[in-house]
């Protein structure tokens, strides 16, 4: 069985928000649209976004890490948001594990959003239905797009390629290998939701300097000594031996 998902590499995410607006841009005019904006030019503008990038600070100066943290629906393997839906509008696809909302069935009761611990569902206050990340189902299977572009909009956009997309059930897939090898982890594992999206932690490259690396035979300073010393006037063995 396939489970499509995103892997988000916090090690390279610079918090640029490209994934945020490219998601909105793709989806508002797509099958999951529209994505409305309220007070777009007024006080407290607010709108529907399927993906947000947040910022956290870890530790104390000067040992501070700034962590940029993108989050969209994690397409949980045990999605608590699905069984609670009274209408069946929320469902998880057998075929690829994508959790979707059928806008035609949704009654806008918001119950599923209560049942998601991650805060990634967005009620559309104008269309009155629940919306969320679709993993760009309307891109990833669209055969009219070139193969390389059959990926979520956010993945294509991400300048640092901090977002990987693939089947986490296929142990050979790039995403599975990455999760395995780079320490991929799930958010709030305590609820047994088994998020399919995984995050990769920060990794550090360090350099170790050995004492001897500072004193080397080819040290260029050695070339700066003047080799031609002037002859000296004082007595030397040259003057006093008779061999």
């Amino acid at each position: 069985m396939t489970q499509l998902a995103l892997i988000i590499d916090l090690n390279v995410c610079v918090g640029c928000h490209a994934c945020v607006t490219s998601c909105k841009e793709w989806n508002t005019s797509g099958a999951a649209g529209t994505m409305c904006d309220d007070n777009p030019y007024g006080q407290d503008p607010t709108g529907t976004f399927f993906n947000r990038v947040q910022t956290y600070e870890v530790g104390q100066f000067p040992y501070t890490e700034t962590v940029h943290f993108p989050k969209s629906c994690l397409h949980c393997e045990e999605p608590p948001c699905v069984p609670v839906c009274p209408t069946g509008a929320s469902y998880k696809r057998e075929k690829d594990g994508i959790v979707l909302v059928d806008y035609d069935k949704c009654i806008g009761c918001r119950y599923c959003s209560w049942a998601c611990p991650y805060g990634v569902r967005e009620i559309d206050e104008h269309e009155k239905v629940m919306k969320k990340c679709t993993l760009c189902v309307d891109r990833i299977y669209d055969e009219s797009l070139p193969e390389a572009e059959r990926k979520p909009a956010c993945v294509l956009a991400c300048p640092t390629s901090a977002r990987l997309f693939g089947d986490v059930h296929d142990p050979q897939s790039e995403v599975s290998v990455t999760i395995r090898e780079e320490g991929g982890y799930a958010l709030m594992p305590e609820w047994g939701t088994k998020p399919s999206n995984h995050y990769l932690p920060r990794r550090k490259t360090r350099m170790h300097i050995h004492e001897d690396e500072l004193v080397r035979a080819d040290n260029p300073l050695k070339k700066e000594q003047r080799e031609h010393a002037e002859p000296i006037d004082a007595t030397t063995l040259d003057d006093s031996t008779s061999w």
Binding site: S113, W114, C116, R121, E122, I123, V129, W191
Partner: protein
Amino acid sequence: MHPAFSVIFLTTLIGVGQGLFLAIFTGQSYSAVELLPTEDSVQFYATGSMLALVFLFAGLIASLFHLGHPERAWRAATKWRTSWLSREVIALPVLMFLIFVYSLMHYFEWDTMLFTSKTGARLQLTLVIGMLGVIATFALFLCTGMIYAAIKFLQEWASPLTVINYLLLGTASGFILATAFSSYTAPGLVKFYGVWATIITLSALITRSAALIRNARIKHKSSIQTAIGVRHNQIQQKSMGFMGGSVNTRDFFHHKTRLFMKSIKWIFILLTFFLPLLFLWFGIEQANSNTLIMAFIIQYLGLIAERWFFFAQANHPQNIYYQTI
């Protein structure tokens, strides 16, 4: 959570309806085993259960305000296998239907006697319908409670106490209303209902307090560490990615001060438990229907506050992600 008034009204109103129906039916069952006199079918049972129905109906209407697409509300009945909400959506009309039938039968006094025991206990058709209604009532309480109790990461809610409180608080309000109602329609039952109302209210006080104590002690399983998967004891959000608010900041948090929360807590304890009992017994002693009505109204207001607090107190783990603009 952000308390939604549609849901507050839904749960409190149907609670009253359910409780009142239980009270009416209790009255009838007592009289069936001759512990109480039989009351006038139309004036008491039919009207009383009709009144319960009105509350249920009002609750139903309130619930529609919660829906984005009320015209599709029927769809909500389809997922009863997994969804407590769906089950509630089924249980409520079933109960309403049963109460309606129960009320209608009393009204037209179509009450076939099914069985009479030697001791004089009678089994009428209305009793059977009523019994079904009781089952539906309990089912509805269970569904309503479970809607909340089933969300395991809403730890304040995820407890049997949630169901028990829904049951007891709804029943208490129904019995107080029944007390008031009987003062007009069946004065002989006032004390009977008063005693039960008191017992149930006091039980609710105990279980609701238990829930408060439990919630005050809850250790939340989710933390900012598990939320973002970084292990460090000092992590602070600096930006949540937007500044003008979102569903996440509107739907999941009450945006009220601690003081406000605390006040609401004491207000609801006072209004739901102590004041109504005071009015109740004052009203019974004085045989003053108005005072009894007051007792109900006060408790109902208390329940609104209680329900508000119930929502507000629930700490949704998603809030961990939405702390700082």
